[in-house]
Amino acid sequence: MAMSAVLKTTIDRLKPRFIVNLTEWQASFRALRPELSGDADLPPLLKELRFATHRMAGLAGTLGFRPLGRLAQQAEAQLVPLTDEAAPTRPLPPAMLASLDALMTEMDRVLADASPARTGR
């Protein structure tokens, strides 16, 4: 089998596992996003979001979800300077919040596309 065919098979095999991860990240983001505007301790919150965006950025593009990967990278880039700060403070940069919102919208879209009802599975 040619390299590209082997890779496609591998990617097809990995995609469902990624979708499972993405579902977990979606739940996590939905829970964490309101807390960014609340009074929760910011460092662990930002760290968790950064870690999730990093994982997403690394895999999504490779598995064929290019817009998701790009948005995850942008969100991570916004989160990195904040997590490097010793004591980040509110209000958080609007650009960072906007990038997270755009990423969450894309996550919703990908998951909707991948849902059994949509795919007929």
């Binding site: 890779l7 990093h54 598995l63």
Partner: protein
């Protein structure tokens, strides 16, 4: 090529396994953290040829792992490719400062990744060739040294020293001398105390060099005498002085020692070699009627010098005082 890939995401493991396998690299070990990677590196009997490291991982990150591989695990030249979603300049700089050889950002471009891996493979092969060449060179040097090694008691040919002959050639020279020639000829034996220690301490080449320098020093101290010399083994030198030369032999030994000392000889470890000469014996051929008689005396002087060299550091009389040699006369050829 044996590869260690470190990424905390098992889905990435699957992608990497496929990409690497498709490029012909099937010997891949995966670790999910820096700690696990350290354990793998420590446990393997055959070292890895290349490393693929993610940067952002729980615990120590890939940059710290890269630094550890370079500084503490002895992976000085093996290719380390950072494969990461971190494209920010600070991560790029940090990775290369820690010793990374290449940097690939996720998402993977499969063709690009395969190209980088092949580049790393070429580098790894070049490193292996250099390492193997160095090992072969060391083995060859050791074999050469072994071939050049001589027994302490054996005579060493001093081919590059003017006036130095093989012992047999020196005997042949004496056989050619007639009675008149012998009347003006003297035989002197010198030795280097501590030669046993030097022979044990020096590499074969350095030992031969020491003997050659010692021979040149004796001949320099006997300059003008037309002296011929042979190494008789065990740091003993016998000289034949065929024409006029008159000097205090202890002073000759001191002068030869000074010449040798001025050469500033050092051993393989950089330590100075101190090797003062001692006159082991001397004889004037005087009334000898044939070269055979002179050869007999030469043998006796050689044997005495060798025995003294092997058994004691300094020639001593039975009363314990250091033996002195005075003038050997007459040295003038008639």
């Amino acid at each position: 090529m044996k590869i260690l890939a470190v990424d905390d995401d098992v889905l990435i493991h699957g992608v990497l396994r496929t990409v690497l396998g498709g490029a012909g690299y099937d010997d891949v070990t995966f670790a999910a953290s820096a700690n696990e990677a350290r354990t793998q590196v420590g446990a393997t009997s055959a070292p890895y040829d290349a490393y693929l490291l993610d940067i952002q991982m729980p615990g120590d990150d890939g940059i710290a792992l890269c630094r550890w591989l370079r500084k503490e695990a002895g992976c000085r030249a093996e290719p380390i490719i950072m494969i990461t979603a971190m494209s920010a300049r600070a991560f790029l700089d940090g990775a290369f400062q820690a010793g990374a050889t290449d940097y690939v950002t996720k998402p993977f471009d499969v063709t690009e990744l395969a190209t980088r891996i092949r580049q790393a493979d070429r580098q790894s092969q070049a490193n292996r060739r250099i390492r193997d060449d160095a090992i072969r060179l060391r083995a060859l040097k050791a074999a050469l040294e072994d071939m050049r090694r001589v027994d302490l008691a054996a005579s060493v040919a001093l081919d590059d020293v003017d006036g130095a002959l093989a012992p047999l050639a020196l005997e042949n020279y004496l056989l050619r001398l007639g009675r008149g020639d012998l009347a003006g000829t003297s035989l002197i034996a010198f030795r280097l105390p501590g030669i046993t220690r030097l022979h044990a301490r020096l590499a074969a080449t350095a030992y031969r060099d020491l003997l050659a320098d010692a021979a040149e020093s004796i001949l320099a101290a006997l300059q003008g005498s037309g002296a011929l010399l042979a190494h008789a083994g065990a740091g003993a030198f016998v000289t034949v002085l065929p024409r006029g030369f008159e000097a205090d032999l202890d002073e000759v030994a001191t002068l030869a020692s000074q010449v040798l000392d001025d050469l500033g000889l050092i051993d393989d470890t950089g330590l100075p070699i101190a090797a003062p000469f001692v006159v082991a014996g001397a004889h004037h051929c005087g009334m000898m009627t044939s070269g055979r008689d002179a050869i007999g005396v030469l043998h006796a002087l050689s044997a005495r010098a060798r025995v003294d060299s092997l058994e004691s550091a300094e020639p001593v009389h039975q009363d314990g005082s250091r033996q002195r040699f005075g003038l050997v006369r007459p040295f003038a050829r008639r």
